[in-house]
């Protein structure tokens, strides 16, 4: 099962974190920091695997991929295939690419909930849900359609007005 999905930029700032087991905030931050510490010391052109038993506890593996300014990191246990996970990162990124047309870090920062819904279409509860990026796109589009169909009130103003009324 997949334990965590992390997207960290090259400065070590987390851009997307999703843990499929409950961890306290402090623990999560600690893990992110230590993972980044190891990652940034690795050279280009080396394998995409790391042994992270010391960080995530026994029986854990980590694969990562480096795209432009972002590291995409999947942490999982021995019941998953490493290369398949690497492919999954590729699918994730391809989907993002289709979604945002040439995805970049800013897209991820500003479309936070969209990113979450895409991830939820790919992985659910630590298991692979869908691997075809076309299918994923279809699901995501559907979501955004129903979002706009309820024609509304985007969330931000609502919250703001909520504040005012208090």
């Amino acid at each position: 099962m997949i334990k965590a999905v992390l997207v960290i930029n090259t400065q070590g700032k987390p851009r997307l974190t999703k843990f499929y087991g409950f961890l306290t905030v402090e623990k999560q931050q600690e893990l992110i920091r230590s993972v980044f510490g190891v990652l940034c010391s690795r050279a280009e052109k080396v394998s995409n695997f790391m042994e992270v038993d010391s960080i995530f506890g026994p029986d854990s593996r980590l694969v990562y991929k480096h795209y432009a300014t972002l590291y995409f990191i999947f942490v999982f246990d021995s019941s998953e295939n490493e290369l398949a996970m690497l492919d999954l990162i590729q699918v994730f990124v391809e989907t993002l690419d289709k979604c945002f047309r040439n995805v970049c870090e800013l897209d991820i920062v500003f479309n936070y909930n969209k990113l979450h819904s895409i991830l939820d279409e790919i992985i659910s509860g630590g298991q692979v849900l869908e691997t075809s990026s076309t299918e994923i796109m279809r699901a995501v589009e559907e979501i955004s359609k129903s979002e706009s169909a309820s024609n509304s009130i985007s969330i931000v103003p609502k919250t703001v007005s909520g504040w005012r009324s208090r």
Partner: protein, 961 residues
Amino acid sequence: MLYIFMLGYDVDFGHMEAVSLISAPKYPEKQVGYIVTSSLLNENHDFLRLAINTVRNDIIGRNETFQCLALTMVGNIGGREFAESLAPDVQKLLISSSCRPLVRKKAALCLLRLFRKNPDVVNVDGWSDRMAQLLDERDLGVLTSSMSLLVALVSNNHEAYWSCLPKCVKTLERLARNQDIPQEYTYYGIPSPWLQVKTMRALQYFPTVEDPNTRRSLFEVLQRILMGTDVVKNVNKNNASHAVLFEALALVMHLDAENEMMSQCVALLGKFIAVREPNIRYLGLENMTRMLMVTDVHDIIKRHQAQIITSLKDPDISIRRRALDLLYGMCDVSNAKDIVEELLQYLSTADFAMREELSLKAAILAEKFAPDLSWYVDVILQLIDKAGDFVSDDIWFRVVQFVTNNEDLQPYAAAKAREYLDKPAIHETMVKVSAYLLGEYSHLLARRPGCSPKEIFSAIHEKLPTVSTTTIPILLSTYAKILMHTQPPDPELQKHVWAIFSKYESCIDVEIQQRAIEYFALSSKGAALMDILAEMPKFPERQSALIKKAEVAEVDTAEQSAIKLRAQQHMTNALVVTDQHSLNGTPQSVGQLSLVKIPSISGDEHTSADQELSQANGTLATVDPQPPSADLLGDLLGPLAIEGLPGAAVLSEPNAVSGLEGVPIPADDAAAIVPVEKDTNSVQPIGNINERFYALCLKDSGVLYEDPNIQIGIKAEWRTQHGRLVLFLGNKNTFPLLSVQALILPPVHLKIELSLVPETIPPRAQVQCPLEVMNLHPSRDVAVLDFSYKCGTSMANVKLRLPAVLNKFLQPITVSAEEFFPKWRSLSGPPLKLQEVVRGVRSLSLIDMANIFTSFQLTVCQGLDPNPNNLIASTTFYSETIRPMLCLIRIETDPTDRTQLRITVASGDPTLTFELMEFIKEQLVGFPTAPRPPAPPAAPVAQPTNPAALTDPGDLLAGLL
């Protein structure tokens, strides 16, 4: 909020709002609600309970997007409660034909999560058929999810899902052979690699494939995968195809296919570890390591040894580690020499993160597969030379052990050590080893050039300024040994060494100081030095600590337990080499014990700590820095004690005793001392037995009995009605005590079990005898230990009361006024409440009396009694037959006449009340100066024999030293 959370700030607000958004009717609000909830809250959060109903409504509702949201959320954070209330609905969704695939695949994973949280939700009997149906699914999304679900179910209980196995194989065929899938599911030209991988994973959870047809078609597919994969340019395609390939390899290994297929696999792996693509190289190495454990493919793998060794130089540390693991795994007698030498060479260039592991592994391999021992010594010395910082102490201890146990090796090792000493800069560990080896065995080299004692001494002494305080003691020992081996004595060398000793006599480090002083004193003894500083005895053969360490370090996954198994097999082989020496190892333990004895009684913790140490030493193979020194001291003290004790103390003592013969020894047979031979040989106790007994009634450890030959210490732990006593029988003499016997004469109310007491106690050793006590019912009777031993020709016998007395089974308890008075009133009159006026009590102030009570585990309750001259105490009594019983005590004193008081005792048990009353009377009347002997074992009042003269052999020794 999520963003704040992700950046690492604690978000403890807004949870309620998020949860309530879930029930909002509009999609965006609902979506935000679900996403925030599933990220922020954990499965046991209270708020989630509020949401269950809404979630359920969404799941059974008609709106599919809402269903999806709800399923995703439950799939991510659903807990037990969710499992209980939602599982049936989710199952229904999964198998319903009216739902779209989008919903059903989510339902599958949601069910998986619920199943993980609560395995009972999936009814095994009915579900396996449905599972089989699900595997016929055409939509690959649903199929992938279902396969994940199947993997979880099968890993839990494969029996029930046999019917799914052929389906899995069929799916695999469909994907790999027929390539019969929709376009969007091919990933870089490969039909859904994930599904293939998952399917093969699922197959690995079944122990075997029995049906021949299924088996045949499965192997056909596997063969196709194995053969049809090639390394291509496109990275992504490569990854995908190899993901499938490696999974196929794993499956082949699992099914343990015919040898042909296996060798095919190895050939493939051999190809992989040479490719440019680092990922594949990594996995190739890893899988080879795994393969080593599964089958006997050693020889084929060995062909790739050169390639693997090149991988050690890979720029990627992950790959280097894998290569190291593989080398470690594939090493055996035939290739050990090459591999270890390769590792040694690599050591000087390896990065720091790996060096420790590397040196440990090299040492283990060298030890396990050494073709001859001199090679082993070479390897370890090189290892220390190259990576001294990373060589743990265990490694050099082990070398020393080997050398000590193998006489042939000694000159060689000493010569080697000498060579290394000539190097300009050597590591401190090397100084330690060389010094030790040269100290012990340099005399074997005496005739070689450059190896005269003086030269060796100066070579070692050169290093002294550079080493730390842990090494100096070793050097000092070496000097002493060199001095001893120099025959005829060389006055100049002697002077030099003495100067060093006297310099360190005031060293701040105790260990160094002690050694310096002792060696100085000893070396001035001349010829006697020879006996004292004799060669180290052989070490008892033990399991290598290194191998142990490696075993512990290994993670306990299935594959690695296989490594362990192999390692253990090898280890037994390795041990055979030196097995014949194991018999010689016994004297050492005695040597250690003799040291343990010195601190005598008061050092109970001391002894146990030392004992632990020697135990640890028994299991570990290392020569801890402690034991050698202990041994040395043992060696040192042995002869001295022989000189001292028999000459001065023991011989003079019979006279002293005979002078005291006239001390009245009561004639009744409960006498503490029953002299067997009524001549001067009878032994007299040191100290007052009664006083010791009464002291022990109040505390839990101390000396029960002591005479010139033996000392019996006691240490007790009491818990409710159970007690555990340990008797420490310490032989104070330098000759063994024979026919030691200890019998317990328990009173009826105590159940006492004494473990076996050894018949002989070795000289200056201490033996522990645990003793289990259980209290059956209240009584003041005391257990008696009948102890006898033979010392020389005389037989000694003592009867000692054991301090397992009533108050040991009491536990203090504080009672408030609200509890006390109703209880006090409810226990009205005899036999539950007894009152007595006692006269002739020692006059005690109230505070003293309170202190006595506290020491007997009675809690004095302040302020319960309005009269300040009265005292109220409470306690709980534990025994096997009656439940824990609250006891209440009231003492009324007369301020004008302190010798008179009225005692009232109340408890729920008549015997207890009576016994407690009598007990308190005894304590108050007799305590503590003139103990009125309790009824059964009337112990005599023995006069203490002049304690100043021979209290402690330790003192005696100190005086002599």
